[in-house]
C-alpha cells in the first residue's frame, strides 16, 4: 500500500510533516503487531506540490493520497484510519 503526503510549501505550512511523523510511527506500530495486519508493506512517500491548491478557491491543504484516493484537508487521524482499515486483518 502506498501513501503519499504532499510536502509542498502550503501543505508544509499547514502541518503535512506532522502527518508524515504520525504515519511513520504507525509503521512501527504495525511492525510490532504484524500478526494482526495483512502481509503488505506500508510505503510512505513525501511528494512535491501537485498544484491543486493553487487552482482551487477552496482551502484544501494538506493533501494526502492513499493508493489512488486523494484526501483533501488531510488530517493524520483520517489518513491513519484509512490505512489501518485497509491493512488490518478481519
Amino acid at each position: 500500500m502506498k501513501v503519499k503526503v504532499c510536502v509542498g510549501s502550503n501543505c508544509t505550512l499547514l502541518g503535512s510533516m506532522g502527518i508524515l511523523d504520525q504515519i511513520e510511527e504507525l509503521q512501527d506500530l504495525i511492525r510490532e503487531d504484524e500478526d494482526n495486519y495483512k502481509d503488505e508493506e506500508l510505503e510512505v512517500e513525501a511528494i512535491k506540490c501537485l498544484g491543486h491548491c493553487k487552482i482551487s478557491n477552496e482551502k484544501i491543504a494538506p493533501i494526502a493520497i492513499i493508493d489512488d484516493e486523494v484526501i483533501l484537508n488531510a488530517t493524520s487521524q483520517v489518513v491513519m484510519e484509512k490505512i489501518v482499515n485497509k491493512m488490518r486483518k478481519g
Binding site: S9, G15, M17, G18, L20, D21, C49
Partner: protein, 511 residues
Amino acid sequence: MKESYVNLIYIRRQVFAKIAQMAYKGSNLRELEKASFEILPGEVATYRDSIFRERAILDERLRLTMGLDARDANEYGRVTDGISEVDVDETHFIEPLVNVITHACEACPTKAFMVTDNCRKCLAHPCTNVCPTNAVSIGKSRAIIDQDKCIKCGRCKTTCPYSAIVQYERPCAAACGVNAIDSDYLGRAQINRNRCVSCGRCIIQCPYGAIADKSQIYQLIKALKTDSHMYAIIAPSFIGQFGPLASPLQIAEGIKQLGFKDVIEVSLGADITTLREAKEYLEKVPGEIPYMGTSCCNSWAIMVEKLFPDQYEYISDSSSPMVETARYIKKKDPDARITFIGPCISKKLEALRDDVKDYVHFVITFEELMGMFVAEEIELSEIEIESKIEDASTLGRGYAIAGGVAEAVKTTAMALDPSKEIQVENASTLHECVKLMKLAKAGKKNGYLLEGMACEGGCIAGPGTIASVNRVRKAVTEFTKQSPYKTPFDNAHIKEENLPEEASVTNMNLS
C-alpha cells in the same frame, strides 16, 4: 509549534501567510478588518464556542503578527488602531514580546491533585492514610481532596492502586521554567514580566493558543522591497524544517527569491563564538572566574541575569553566533541590513540590545519564513540550483543540538591547550538550567564549562520550528558531517580580520 496541535498550527500559520501576502502586495492595511473573515469564513464555529469569538481572537493574532499589542476585551478599538506606527520598513518593537490573548485564555485551574472516575472508593483507601494534612476523605462516590488543605505532595497519587488520582497543572505554567505564569482577576494566565525570559515554551504548550509572540515579517517584507543590501543569516537548526524534499541549498536559494541579497549560515558565527569562548575559558577559568557559562542561548543568559544576578558575570562575554555572523557580513558590506532566521523568539529581544541592534535588524522564525514562502508561492523543492553551502565547520553546525555548544568549545579549548582538562555540563529546559545555576551558585560547578539551553534538546526544539525534533535532529546530524571543515580552525572563511583581537588565531599559536 507543537506538531500535534494541528488546529492551532493551522490558524497561527495562516495568519503569517496572510500578513506576508499583504506586505508583498502592498495591500491597504484597512483590509486587516476583514482578514479574519477570509481566514475563518462562514457563520459556524469550528474551534471555539462561537465564530464571533474565533474571529475576535484571530484579530489579536493579526495585530501581534503586525507587531502591535493585543487588545483586552474591555477596550474599544479597531483591529487597525495604531497601525501607522508599525507600517514602516524597520523593526518597531512594542514591549512585551510574549503576550496572553486574554479572551482566548480559558483560565485553566492551577496546579492541583484530582480524583478521577477510576476511584472505586476501595476499602483500604490508602489515599487517606498517607496524606500528611488529612486532606483526603471518602465521599459518596469517590475520594475527595480538600484543596484548601492539600499541600500537593502527591503521596495519594503514588499510593492509589487504581491510578485514580492525577496531578493537574495548567500547561503554560507547567512549561515555564522560571515560574513566570501568574493569574489575573479572572484566573486567566498573566505573565510576570520580572521573571519571564521570553523562551516561548508557554506559546507552544497552550492547547487554546492563548499566548503568542509579536512578529516583524510585515516590516521585513517592506524593507526587502526597497533595500538591496538585505542579508539573511540562518540558524543551524534550519535543516529539514521546510519539508523533507527541500535541500539546504534550495532553502537558501528560496530565501534569496524573497528579496535577500545573500544567505549565510549562522554556524559560521558559531565557529567564531567557539574560538572566542574557548580562548576566554582558558584565560579566565579558574583564575578570574570560578566557572563559565556559554552565551549563545539568550533566554538562558536572561534567566541568569534576572534570577542569579550575582552570577551573571560568569556567563561568557563572547557574542552569540547570530551577532558574530552579522559582524562578519557587516565587515564585507557596511550597508548590510541583516535578518536572523531561526527557531527562536528570544533572539527577537537579543537583537534589540544596544550592542547588537546595529548588526541584526530583523529576527523572524522558521514558521514565519514559511508563511513568506507561501505568500510568494515559492516551491523550494522545485528550485534548480547547483552550488555549495560551505560556510561552517562540523562543530559549528552542531550548535543546534543540546550539548553541541559545549562540545565545540571543549574540543577547541583542548586543541589549544591539551594539558587542561575541561569538565562540561549541559542543561536543556529552563527548569534544568535553573537547577544547574543553583548548583553553580553554591560552588559545586567550579572549573566547569556550563552550557544552558532553554529548549529541551536544544535549538532544534525552538518555539518557531516547523518540523519535529527527531526529524530535524537526524537532518542536522547528517548536514554537520557534510561540512568540509571539521573544526573552526579549518574554516576558510574565518580570517584574521574577522576575529576580534583577543581571539586572534595567531595569538593562539596555531601557525
